[in-house]
Symmetry: C2
Subunit: 700 residues, 2 copies
């Protein structure tokens, strides 16, 4: 009795690039979608391993829908589907038998309707059932190569022979050449014909089957026909792919299949010399049609064993092997991209990540603002500060450690280093720079350094998109306010009192065709909103002189800076995601409960954009207020900006050194002399700032 | 012509303990007070340095008002005053001449009214003018030893002689003995009398002056009188203290002063052997009274030179020399104590610093909460968390670095280490512990570990004052809520949605005499407030099963956690500083604008204490809402707590393993069957939680 044929099972292998690419697609494209994903696996022809099966390799190219670029001589392609469940629970609850039967039924259909005759790659199919833990980079997956269970037993009619015994050297050489010229997708199954003259040629499966069927009818043998398949297996048995080829022959040439000796070539590797010829035959059956029907109605089988030789999923943990810095970047983006899955699909994360942020002040607010920017994935952060880390800073300024205070590091540098310690790929910079301030007289000895500071500050404002004003005095905010207005940059201002805070966006400025602000609009546009100085009736002066210790330090309830910093960054991000951007209409307090989401002038993707948020920890209230642009503002009005643009450094020096210079220049001095000042002050729409950190006088 | 006398100037030296003590007093006691501070300086008798003057030493004992403990044989005490200005500007603007004249005028008065005759230490006085930069530990100070400018010139009648030449060995020995027995305050000036028999005795200044004046009248010399003074100077000249002694003699025995040779003993060191005898005399004046008047009306002089031999302040920078860990502690306290100077004088910082806080969950909220607690100077923080730092955590969880993620450290340990890196003296702990949860079935294999977890958690809740619920699922908060209710601990709860947050304090529970909550109170007391579960109509279950990635992670706008954490800690601190503590009446939203500060049931030192704060980043609104205590709550109701107290572990296991166990036990199941459920739900006063991080169903 002849020996019956066993089929060596297939094995697959996933490259880490496969999962990396999948993570990317899952987060950016598939999101919550659990639909089947098409894949291309490949068997390498080059690196055939003697001891093991040549595995079906899945890598980052597996997701490529464009097959042309994958058509190369060095591999055999195999088509497949992957289902990735969103939860581990769903993964566990999938019944493997049902899964392979429903997902693999294409194989049966493609055989029966003849599709595979023209598209031989459809005769094999692999299935991946997976669950990916994207937080931990842990992947659970299980691969199947579906094939009908009830394949009739086949028997060896001769012992398997090397191709070199069956064919002449010339024929082997031709086979090799022709095979390599085949399309990667058609290398998996084809027919080899040997003419009477001994000429070897490759014909497709359809022609092979036709030839066989014709020959059966005419009973004449004008050529030898061999059915060939790429065989990733290296044992003396034929590999799993032969099963589906047998099914095809059983369906399309049943008489031949159930009565004749069929010759197969198992193509192994790229040289073909190692290929094997199998001559096989079924048992004789009384009613072969029953056998055939049973075959095509049987369940599908073909789940791979895992590395423990058990039927079950393989677990890949890539958190250790992936480059930590890249892992970190990917993980950070993951959290952000999750927002797009369900909550804010239209969120433009690129806009946020690519933002260049300049943080003036690396104290309590500066550190907290940087941390929220980190959370939003902002890649470019520059700190400007002239002071050093002191021991009283570390518990409130969240980027500094005890060692920074011991080493008395510059805050700007310590803050930069802290960001790099959190996210190595971030583009962070620290600049030690003293900002020139009105009322802080610049003597001769300081001329050079003041010039350099101004130039550097101008360069920094120019090169950034957003400027955060997080400084510890009112006058330190003056020059940055001038520069932001002159260069039309987004300016976000935050200031702390003891138990209250103010967070504000500056309005935009148009110096080419300035108009008076529209004071009547219920929700003023960006161009009509004020800056930090628009409700002042004196120019900023030296507030550091003659201040006691508790006035020098921002004495505030420690939770306050986190709250204000959180609001400052969220205000910025909401503004960036608003269709009108910085020109967005400002939400005011009393209209807060009656917002129509369809009012796109007011409502952006992330909600409304107030001008000024004032909050208190005393009664947990938040007020949204408005200050209008002031045409005699000492920081952002037309005469000020014109003079700055004209005279640069000498303007700044005059502002620092000459008392009331800015009041004169802006026209504020004239206004203060007017008899109707009280009414005017009322019109200025000002709100008491008495609780703020700098304690300067403003109109009550 | 005889040589006229030059006086060697004095020198002082401040020990670092002087400034450390001053910083303490300034922050805790003096605060903004700029009034003069009394000081005791001392000259050491032991360590007389040959080359230099023996400096007037100021150290931490200088502030001691209780002189007795300072009365020792090893030093000579000197009295003084210090003025410390609050600002550098004020320091700079003080005119030194005016300062010494006004502050030193006591010297003149004390001489003229005879006070110094009884209290010789009042004959010398030192003045310190200082400005202390408490942020940088930099001290500017300038010391003066006031004495009238127009002291008549004195001339040596003999060359200065060693005491050993003037006195017998026995007399020297006696002088030495007597001197050492003098009070530290009277060592500075006294009289030495030698009887006809050669016996040396020490008499006070008053007796000395009396003796001299009597002798002038009676013209008989029955004993030798020497005026003695402790002389810190080591030159051959007499030291500065002699000047005021001369003034005293000029005033109280003018005839003697202007006509006779006066003998002085300059006492040097503790052995007296090195002391010097000076015999001095003034010029002859025609009208000595004019000279005397001029002397007593003249300006005062006596400012020390600094180390550059210039008249000007000395700068001491102690930031480098002080122990960094202690510096850090002092600096941290400084920031806090500044609040008491002006803004909240009654703030009880001890209560906050000594607080023991248990943070359940060391994720985004846990890290931010810990940072605000650090800012408040809280000394005892324990983290409980069972997970590890992953790469997606670092940019949002503000205690972790990239390296923590690479090393995959347990969050509880990494968080503890981070706190120690910020404040080395903090008492921080990390506990890796998995909290048993309803719906998460405990199998046999987990029994032991569940038992241990429960015991550890019970111990932790017991040993802490406050429990923060910062966990990532609703069911994880159940057991901590039960434990806090059973042990009556302060529980603060925070939860995040995408752009909204909830911060809440749990109500208190009284299980000895439970009453129905008063639903009518406008501002319910702590005992009538609900817990996190009081508005649920199902028991907490396994919400982790079958959740997609974006549901597993808290997908929230990054600023949100900082805001919620800031509010959670500030709510706690406000509560601690409220006279009613955790029983304080809850502020509700609609009464926020009409708060009477005198309503002490409602308003605490740091404002009002709501029950639940709900905020949104969409329209920047904050709502203050109330949930009443629910008598069938699945976490804090009487039947639940009674069963927990009765059965401990087996109760917890039943809660984890038996579906609906808690609903049955609490009576909730019965209520849900009632036909009037809809009305009941309305009465439960619930608010939609649909935006919260755990997504469990609650009554809308």
């Amino acid at each position: 009795m002849a020996k019956f044929v066993k089929f060596t099972k297939l094995r697959s292998s996933t490259d880490s690039t496969f999962w990396a690419k999948f993570v990317e697609l899952k987060i950016d494209k598939f999101k919550l979608d659990e639909k089947s994903v098409n894949l291309w696996g490949n068997y390498s022809l080059q690196s055939l391993n003697e001891n093991n099966n040549n595995p079906l390799v899945l890598d980052f190219t597996s997701f490529n829908e464009d097959l042309e670029i994958l058509n190369n001589n060095s591999s055999v392609l195999c088509f497949g589907h992957m289902i990735n469940t969103n939860t581990f629970e769903a993964f566990r609850q999938i019944n493997p038998e049902q899964f392979i039967n429903s997902m693999g039924k294409d194989i049966i259909n493609n055989i029966q309707d003849g599709t595979v005759l023209q598209n031989p790659w459809k005769l094999s199919l692999f299935l991946v059932l997976a669950y990916s833990d994207l937080k931990k980079y842990k992947f659970y997956y299980w691969v199947a190569h579906p094939t009908p269970l009830k394949l009739p037993e086949m028997y060896y009619q001769e012992s398997p022979q090397s191709i070199n015994e069956e064919f002449t050297a010339r024929q082997v050489e031709d086979l090799c050449q022709h095979f390599l010229q085949l399309d990667s997708r058609t290398k998996s199954y084809f027919t080899v014909s040997i003419s009477k003259e001994g000429k070897l040629s490759i014909i497709d499966l359809a022609t092979g089957v036709e030839t066989i069927n014709a020959r059966e009818k005419q009973s004449q043998e004008y050529s030898e026909i061999y059915f060939a398949f790429y065989d990733p297996c290296t044992t003396s048995n034929p590999g799993w792919p032969l099963r589906n080829l047998l099914c095809l022959l059983c369906w399309h040439c049943p008489i031949y299949y159930f009565s004749k000796i069929i010759k197969f070539i198992s193509i192994r590797g790229n040289k073909a010399q190692k290929s094997i010829v199998f001559k096989l035959k079924t048992k004789e059956y009384e009613n072969y049609k029953d056998i055939r029907d049973a075959l095509f109605m049987s369940h599908l089988v073909g789940w791979e064993s895992n590395s423990n030789d058990k039927l079950g999923p393989t677990i890949v943990n890539l958190s250790d092997t992936m480059d930590p810095a890249k892992l970190s970047d990917r993980a950070i983006n993951l959290n952000l991209k999750l927002m797009k899955w369900r909550l804010a699909p239209d969120l433009d994360l690129e806009k946020i990540c690519n933002l260049k942020c300049l943080l003036l002040g690396a104290g309590t607010l500066g550190c907290s603002v940087a941390r929220v920017l980190l959370g939003w994935g902002v890649n470019n952060i520059t700190f400007v500060d002239s002071s050093n880390v002191s021991h009283s800073n570390t518990v409130r300024q969240s980027l500094y450690s005890h060692q920074d205070a011991v080493k008395h590091k510059y805050k700007a540098y310590a803050a930069k280093d802290a960001l790099l310690n959190i996210r190595p790929s971030i583009n962070a910079e620290g600049v030690v720079l003293h900002i020139p301030m009105p009322g802080h007289v610049v003597g001769k000895s300081m001329l050079d350094s003041t010039k350099q500071s101004l130039e550097k500050l101008e360069e920094l404002v120019e090169n950034n998109d957003v400027v955060f004003l997080l400084l510890d005095s009112r006058e330190a905010r003056w020059l940055p306010t001038v520069l932001c207005a002159a260069k039309n940059k987004i300016a976000i201002n935050a200031a702390l009192g003891f138990d209250s805070y103010t967070v504000q966006r500056h309005g935009t400025r148009n110096f080419t065709s300035p108009a008076s602000p529209d004071l009547d609009a219920r929700n003023p546009r960006g161009m009509d909103l004020g800056c930090y100085f628009c409700n002042d009736v004196t120019q900023p002066g030296n507030s550091q002189t003659d201040r006691t210790l508790d006035q020098q330090c921002t004495v505030s309830r420690p939770g306050l800076s986190q709250i204000a910093a959180g609001l400052a960054v969220e205000l910025l991000v909401a503004l960036l995601q608003h269709s009108q951007g910085i020109e967005a209409e400002a939400l005011v307090g009393n209209s807060r409960d009656n917002i129509s989401p369809s009012d796109t002038e007011l409502v952006g993707l992330l909600g409304c954009i107030p001008h000024t948020i004032r909050g208190s920890l005393w009664n947990y209230d938040t007020q949204l207020t408005i200050t209008h642009r002031f045409t005699s503002c000492t920081a952002c009005s037309v005469p000020i900006i014109a003079e700055y643009k004209n005279r640069g450094l000498s303007f700044v020096l005059d502002a620092c050194n000459i008392p009331n210079y800015l009041e004169k220049l802006s026209g504020l001095e004239q206004i203060l002399k007017r008899p109707d000042l009280d009414e005017l002050c009322y019109a200025l729409d000002s709100i008491s700032d008495e609780d703020e950190d700098d304690g300067n006088d403003v109109i009550p």
